[in-house]
Symmetry: C2
Subunit: 152 residues, 2 copies
DNA sequence: AGGTTGAGGTCGATGGCGTCCACGGACTGT
DNA sequence: ACAGTCCGTGGACGCCATCGACCTCAACCT
């Protein structure tokens, strides 16, 4: 993980579809060298995936909610986690410090669907209570912060 | 936005680096047709960006926090927003219903940096108070949920 | 009914790109 | 000094991106 690797990571976080040839130009190496570096970044787990970022409203997922979960005393956290994993509407799942063990980011199409989701969450074994906040608008999301040192 | 478009969106949310030729095979069209469809999805704003998803710890961003913001009564929300926009550690920013106007997802390297960030947030004009939750671990994040109808 | 138009597809060609391989220079430990 | 390793380059070859020409079908107008 030298400066060139960080540079590649920044470039790919900005645009995952850059060609190896273009990446090579940007970092000042040959295309095969970049190809090998990126391959290593992928197989070592630094780069987890390449994803298209989609405007959620346009694909029928216009409602975003953030949901805090309080577990039952004595609940099996792993079981709760597995139950959450099976719910596709839960896009992100953080295990938190504090009274609320989990914070979930969920995306659904309508408020009615959100209601159903909350009911389902409250019914899953191990969940004591939920607290839901609705995002009125998403100002930005997953903005990548640059990590490469500025070029000397 | 027909079924093929939704299919393309799902494919690219799963792997943004798929070639047009491969996408074409998956949806049963020719490569130029897919090229044109994807181009339209991009220019119409359905596809916002293509991003490499990186394991944050590996690039020195091991601390994730979720921060609720209460505004001063009479604060200018737009000004607060602009101030937040200038803070690179804030990866996501949601405008929320409820007492806390904003919910921020921030990523920093160390707890010390988080402390500095919170101080900075509390100092920005219009911010009355902050409430910070620390993510002990991220179970998953930005998991794409499929939107395409299953192939008949 | 027939002609026109436009959207959206296929096909073929071409230039650039991804990817494999052989080779070479710098660092390291002995 | 020397061998081994790492990491790079350059060349070669086949696939891919991308453009233009053409086709098809449906909607619409006259």
């Amino acid at each position: 993980m030298d400066a060139i690797d960080l540079n590649l990571v920044d470039l790919l976080r900005g645009n995952a579809r850059l060609s190896y040839a273009e990446l090579a130009r940007q970092v000042g190496l040959s295309a095969p060298a970049v190809h090998e570096r990126v391959g290593k970044l992928e197989s070592s787990g630094v780069i987890r995936a390449y994803r298209a970022e989609v405007e959620p409203e346009t694909i029928g997922l216009g409602v975003t909610a953030l949901i805090g979960i309080v577990e039952d005393s004595g609940a099996d956290t792993d079981d709760v986690l597995e139950a959450f994993r099976g719910i596709p509407e839960i896009e992100s799942c953080y295990f938190m410090a504090g009274v609320e063990s989990f914070l979930l980011k969920a995306r659904v199409g309508t408020i009615a669907e959100l209601e159903q989701l909350i009911v389902r969450l409250n019914r899953t074994p191990g969940v004591a209570s939920t607290r839901t906040g609705i995002a009125l608008s998403t100002k930005w999301e997953n903005r990548p912060q640059a990590v490469a040192p500025p070029p000397a």
